[in-house]
């Protein structure tokens, strides 16, 4: 219930803040009614609206508003929610943009390419709030050739709708654009058929007129009737040709707004439209079928044609939405809506977190393969953000005085605009939103609509600096990087320097001035511990995390710098929630139970956790849930085995760890405890072999970094031992039975932070997140190491030695021991290989190793 109260509070705030604007948008009566009923709604919504969904409705000219379909398409989703009623509500907000027909002063019908309208609507009866996206589709048989449709995202959480307005708008715009493109294609086809019919009619009428003239003379009634009819048909043909011309010359300006993925499909579609419509030389088989089709229709159709346009017949069946749209596009639309529905699951807090997370991860594309779970549907979205630092090609030459060059090249990564997001949003509101503000839409505020605003401008008016608008602008800024001006080196350099000083308060660790990325690396070390503690400690976070650029200025700066330095996010306080949004809603409910069971299993460690289910099943992707569960096993492992740090060191430094044991369960449990330390685990955990009962080959060492191996007394067992012996220099062996570990020694503090056997962390999932945070930090260093020019580029060709020493010194300066350097180097090699070869880690991989002495560790 507390959420609901907060919703009410929020609404009150909103009402207070926007008192003056409120009056323009909805009448006072309505608003007072709303606040009175708020409590009742909220109770209602508990019952009628358990889950958000997308509703598509139509305002049918025959039966009025009617719901068409819901996404997810499951009757349980809406429960007792009255779809018919709600359709009426959302469709009654007619946005007046659908005016099509004979405009004054024009003899012919004109198609209006109207913008979609986007409004927010609240409903007292159902206790629901909706983002409503109106659009029109063209239908030759409909009144004025248009059919009004709307897509609505319906949720009980008003705040969510309000705050995610921009995101919802952009997602629905995509879907709408798919739908409309498909519709244009279908409409053009329809027009073409109609034209053929008309031409046929004309020829028939023409013959008849001639006949009448011949039989009855030119001025007989029949002849005049026929001539009139013929003239009508002629006019109709002209009109339809004009319509066809209009639809095929759909303003190309609009197409540019569309997302790039779509642009291609649309281009395809457009060309096919052109092919279909403008090609008069029909010679294809396809056209033959069209002709036969129209032939069959002609017999019954011909005489009614002209009437059909003028008279409204309410008995005819209107086309369904699917029929109005090209099949291919229709499916794309549905797919887009499904994705949208999935991506907005969960409450606002969750959405914010995952958006922040996603945005950060998007910028880590170079390194995220190392320890992050892969995200399917976010891929395309984030891919464009990555290019943010791409606008100033800099040649990788190393000057001896590397300072200037590096500064310059790194400042290209900083968008001055992003340092002051406010300025950005003032100066250049995204084009798309500009085009959204049509006169109609801003006036469309219905008296019944609650809080309707149709552009981000009005959102700004609402909240002053509204987070969502900022956020939207921020993201838009990322995408419209071409628009972002490249600051002059001196300018950006100064602002760049200014920012870190502000936040570090002189905590800057002295460092070689030549390396400015290196500075960042140190800067971030400072704020980290508190944040890390925050997430490790048992404090309950009552507040939802702030939207990307909202609130804490330090955090903002932090974030901006992140992005500018291309580095990972050490501020794990923000990103620790690396949740898989796709499976959220169902999962949320289970989480509590999971946590409970997790901690109980910790209390009675020996009983429940013995049944550790291995996450490695053939062909199924590793989920975050499995990783979190594994966190518990890992905790137990580091408490139980004093050499856990050495084992983890092996995994992180790329030395294959073989877990040898008689009992499959024990071995699998250990594999389970360690697998999330394996860098570049792969979506399906390809680099882990949880249980192997045959001798392994050299190539297996290349493939698998963690192997569970059976110890058996059979001949096979002895050959297994032989292979272990033979390749002993490439592997570390953890013997479950005698509880020993044979591996190279590790000295350093990094892993003792990662795997402290006296850790206070009690829950597996917490520990997993702790590890995840540490690993992200490590990844950041590896990234830094990989992409620092001047430590890798030789001064001249025969300069191998100095590169080696520069590399070593760099790592030492980062504070790493020799062993820890190996970890960073290994991660760096993986990053390089990944970057060079792309995400497909196929091909012939090299296998790196070291010649180091191993020691035997015992409990």
């Amino acid at each position: 219930l507390s959420t609901y109260f907060s919703v009410i509070n929020f609404k009150k705030d909103l009402l207070d803040q926007t008192g003056c604007i409120r009056t323009h948008i909805f009448c006072c009566k309505q608003s007072s009614l709303l606040s009175q009923c708020a409590r009742i709604w909220l109770l209602c919504c508990v019952f009628s609206l358990s889950k958000d969904f997308i509703l598509i409705s139509e305002f049918s000219e025959q039966v009025g508003p009617q719901p068409l379909l819901t996404i997810p398409n499951d009757p349980k989703v809406c429960g007792t929610f009255d779809l018919n009623y709600f359709s009426l509500r959302i469709m009654s907000v007619d946005y007046q943009a659908s005016f099509v027909g004979h405009p004054p002063g024009s003899n012919y019908p004109k198609l209006n390419f109207v913008e979609d309208s986007k409004v927010v609507l609240g409903d007292s009866k159902e206790g629901a709030f909706a983002y409503v996206h109106h659009l029109t589709l063209y239908d030759l048989e409909a009144r004025g050739f248009v059919r009004p449709f709307c897509m609505a995202y319906i949720s009980a959480d008003e705040k969510k709708i309000m705050h995610q307005f921009q995101e919802l708008s952009s997602e629905f715009s995509k879907a709408s654009e798919f739908l409309k493109s498909g519709n244009r294609k279908a409409f053009a086809n329809e027009l073409e058929k109609k034209l053929k019919d008309l031409e046929y009619t004309r020829s028939v009428l023409h013959k008849e007129t001639e006949l009448q003239k011949k039989n009855n003379g030119c001025y007989s009634t029949q002849a005049i009737e026929k001539a009139n009819e013929l003239a009508n048909v002629e006019k109709s043909i002209y009109e339809h040709k004009d319509l066809l011309r209009q639809i095929t010359s759909y303003p190309s300006r609009k197409k540019k707004d569309v997302d790039f993925v779509q642009r291609e499909t649309e281009k395809l579609a457009d060309t096919s439209v052109l092919d279909d419509t403008l090609n008069s030389n029909h010679s294809d088989i396809a056209d033959k079928t069209v002709e036969t089709e129209s032939d069959s229709r002609k017999s019954s159709y011909t005489p009614q044609l002209i009437k059909a346009k003028s008279a409204k017949c309410f008995d005819k069946r209107l086309k369904t939405m699917e029929e109005l749209c090209d099949a291919n596009f229709f499916h794309q639309t549905l797919e887009q809506l499904n994705i949208t529905e999935k991506s907005f699951r969960g409450d606002l807090c969750f959405i914010y977190t995952s958006q922040i997370d996603g945005a950060l991860l998007g910028k880590q594309r170079v390194t995220s393969f190392l320890f992050e779970a892969e995200r399917e549907w976010e891929k395309e979205g984030t891919s464009k953000n990555f290019n943010i630092f791409s606008h100033n090609p800099t040649v990788p030459i190393l000057n001896l005085s590397g300072e200037l060059l590096s500064l310059e090249s790194y400042t290209t990564c900083i968008d001055i605009d992003h340092i002051k997001p406010g300025v950005e949003s003032m100066e250049g509101p995204p084009e798309s939103s500009l085009s959204d503000i049509t006169q109609e839409t801003s006036e469309a505020a219905d008296t019944e609509t609650k809080g309707s605003f149709s552009s981000d401008k009005s959102i700004e008016a609402f909240g002053g600096v509204s987070p969502s608008s900022l956020q939207a602008n921020y993201f838009d800024g990322l995408e419209r990087k071409s628009k972002v001006s490249i600051a002059s080196p001196s300018e950006s350099a100064s602002s760049y320097v200014a920012v870190p000083q502000k936040m570090t308060d002189g905590n800057l660790v002295p460092m070689d001035a030549a390396c400015c990325i290196g500075q960042d690396g140190f800067i971030f070390e400072e704020p980290l511990p508190e944040l890390a503690q925050e997430c490790c400690g048992d404090t309950v976070v009552n507040q939802e995390p702030l939207s990307l650029l909202q609130g804490d200025p330090a955090l903002q700066v932090d974030y901006i710098l992140e992005e500018s330095a291309l580095a990972e996010s050490p501020n794990m306080g923000l990103t620790f929630s690396e949740l898989n949004t796709g499976v959220l809603s169902e999962e949320v409910a289970k989480i509590n139970i999971e946590y409970v069971s997790d901690s109980t299993s910790f209390m009675s460690a020996s009983t429940s956790s013995d049944r550790a289910v291995s996450p490695f099943t053939y062909g199924s992707a590793l989920t975050l849930k499995q990783k979190k569960k594994a966190g518990h096993s890992a905790l137990r492992f580091i408490r139980q085995y004093p050499f856990a740090q050495q084992a983890i060191f092996c995994l992180l430094s790329g030395r294959t760890l073989v877990i040898l044991g008689v009992d499959e369960g024990t071995v699998r449990k250990l594999v389970n405890a360690l697998f999330f330390f394996v860098p570049n685990l792969g979506k399906y955990g390809e680099t882990v072999q949880p249980w192997l009962s045959s001798p392994f080959q050299l190539t297996d060492l290349q493939r698998w970094k963690l192997i569970g191996l059976q110890r058996a007394a059979s001949p096979a067992g002895s050959s297994i031992l032989h292979s272990l012996n033979r390749y002993s220099r490439y592997i570390s062996i953890l013997d479950c039975d005698s509880k020993t570990l044979r591996c190279p020694p590790y000295k350093g503090t990094l892993i003792s932070h990662l795997a402290d056997h006296r850790t206070q962390i009690k829950r597996g999932s917490t520990y997993f997140l702790h590890v995840q945070g540490m690993l992200t930090q490590l990844t950041a260093k590896a990234f830094l190491y990989t992409f620092c020019h001047h430590i890798h580029l030789p001064m001249d060709i025969n300069d191998q030695g100095s590169v080696t020493s520069r590399r070593t010194n760099f790592l030492l300066q980062l504070g790493y021991t020799v062993e820890e350097s190996k970890i960073v180097q290994y991660l760096s090699e993986l990053i390089k290989q990944h970057y060079i070869q792309g995400s497909s880690m196929g091909g012939n991989q090299s296998f790196c190793f070291n010649y180091t002495t191993s020691y035997l560790y015992k409990i």
């Binding site: 050299l698 090299s846 035997l856």
Partner: protein, 440 residues
């Protein structure tokens, strides 16, 4: 002539046995810290031939010839055509037009000879009606012809036209050939070295049979313009004058037979002293693979420079510079050290501590102290070893800094690379790609 019986004073048989070296895991001088395993063959890979700076060909008992890129490890072509195992392979460069072309000549047990174009993967020429299978090939660049040696010696021009051939020699056939000055070549046939003079386009004539070896000659190499060397199955190493074919030096390597005749299998192993392979190193050393040992002979001094009786667990198959590969599946890198080092216990590799699968039988004892019998004798110290193959390493091929390719009976090829260098190259590639993508 120097006859030398090794280790006569080293009576400790037990030490002898454990003198099999084990260097341990700490190998600071071993720069090969990266490997790439190449799969493609289905049987023993016996031959490796370098085509150019970037490419090499491998061939073996499966009759397949594969062409590889040493930098990426990609298989560029699979040359299929031979139905039986490959018996000899050599690279052949010729000038056609104004461009130098690289080609590959292969001989197989199916009695065919083929010329391949490694740029297209096509079989350019093929001869299939041979009397016997060819065991060795020799290209004489100077004369733009090539020779094949089997039961008979044939001379071919670059268009695969038979120029001339010898009469049928013997069942043993020619196993090795080297080029000598004045259009002579030396061919090893069983125990004899035949010196056929080859007269352009007319005939091949055996000039002289040098029958000083008492057993089958396994290897024949040219040292320089004036000298060539041959090695036989019983450890005879003879250095010949290339012009007048007189013996310049004779070395009979007799690895010591265990005095206390302890274990028979050890005895058997130590009797093995066949000279499998020889190579010239630093233009004055002959490095010979003798049994499971290594033998370095100084040509200028005409004396032994260094030796290691048991360099590997089993026979050494191939040597290169100071590297050796063996049937035991390992490659070892050696270093000539000036002074006989004081007995230094080799690292036990911590196998002793690791009781579960310790290799107790191979406990390393102090290596036998060598007493310099010959002035200037140096010791051959193990610098590092490469372990990867699971069966005999047949051959290796060095691409200098680009890496070292080894081929093995386990059907695999491994490219060993300098990890540090590769890492730097990858960094360069990354920055280059960044630049191309304008992401820098």
């Amino acid at each position: 002539m120097l006859r030398w019986i090794l280790g006569g004073r080293e009576a400790q048989g037990t030490v002898q046995k454990s003198a099999v070296l084990f260097i341990g895991e700490e190998q600071p001088k071993n720069c090969f810290t990266e490997m790439q395993v190449l799969k493609g063959h289905f049987d023993i890979v016996r031959f490796l031939v370098q085509i150019d700076d970037l490419r090499f060909a491998s061939a073996g008992d499966d009759g397949l010839v594969l062409i590889w890129n040493v930098e990426t490890g990609d298989c560029l072509f699979e040359l299929r055509g031979h139905t039986q195992q490959i018996t000899a392979m050599t690279s052949y460069s010729f000038i056609r037009g104004r461009n130098a072309h690289a080609a590959l000549i292969t001989a197989s047990s199916d009695r065919t000879l083929s010329l391949w174009d490694p740029d297209s993967g096509n079989r350019v020429q093929n001869i299939s009606d041979l009397q016997s299978s060819v065991k060795c090939l020799l290209v004489l660049d100077r004369l733009d012809v090539w020779l094949s040696g089997g039961n008979e010696l044939c001379v071919w021009n670059r268009d695969f036209e038979l120029q001339c051939k010898t009469v049928h020699h013997s069942d043993a056939g020619i196993s090795a050939m080297v080029e000598l000055p004045k259009n002579f070549i030396a061919a090893a046939m069983d125990k004899e070295i035949v010196e056929p003079v080859w007269i352009r386009y007319i005939a091949v004539m055996a000039m002289r049979h040098l029958a000083d070896h008492r057993d089958t000659i396994h290897s024949l190499i040219s040292i320089n313009d004036g000298l060539f060397a041959s090695g036989s199955h019983i450890g005879e190493l003879i250095i010949w004058d290339s012009v007048d074919w007189t013996i310049q030096a004779y070395e009979h390597i007799l690895w010591e037979e265990p005095a206390g005749d302890r274990q028979s299998e050890v005895k058997l192993k130590q009797i093995e002293r066949s000279i499998q392979h020889m190579i010239i190193s630093l233009s004055r050393y002959i490095v010979a693979a003798v049994g499971s040992g290594l033998y370095v002979f100084n040509v200028l001094m005409k004396s032994v420079a260094a030796y290691r009786k048991i360099a590997h667990d089993s026979s050494v198959l191939h040597t290169m510079r100071l590297m050796s590969c063996s049937e035991d599946g390992s490659v070892r890198m050696w270093e000539l050290q000036d002074l006989p080092l004081p007995a230094e216990p080799a690292s036990s590799g911590f196998f002793g501590m690791f009781g579960t699968f310790g290799r107790s039988s191979k406990q390393t004892g102090p290596p036998a102290k060598k007493i310099p019998e010959v002035p200037g004798l140096r010791s051959l110290e193990l610098m590092g070893d490469l372990i990867g193959h699971s069966r005999a390493v047949q051959m290796f091929l060095s691409f200098k800094e680009k890496g070292l390719v080894t081929s093995s009976s386990d059907h695999l090829l491994i490219i060993w690379k300098d990890g540090e260098l590769q890492s730097q190259l990858r960094s360069l590639a990354v920055f280059q790609k960044l630049e191309e993508n304008q992401e820098l």
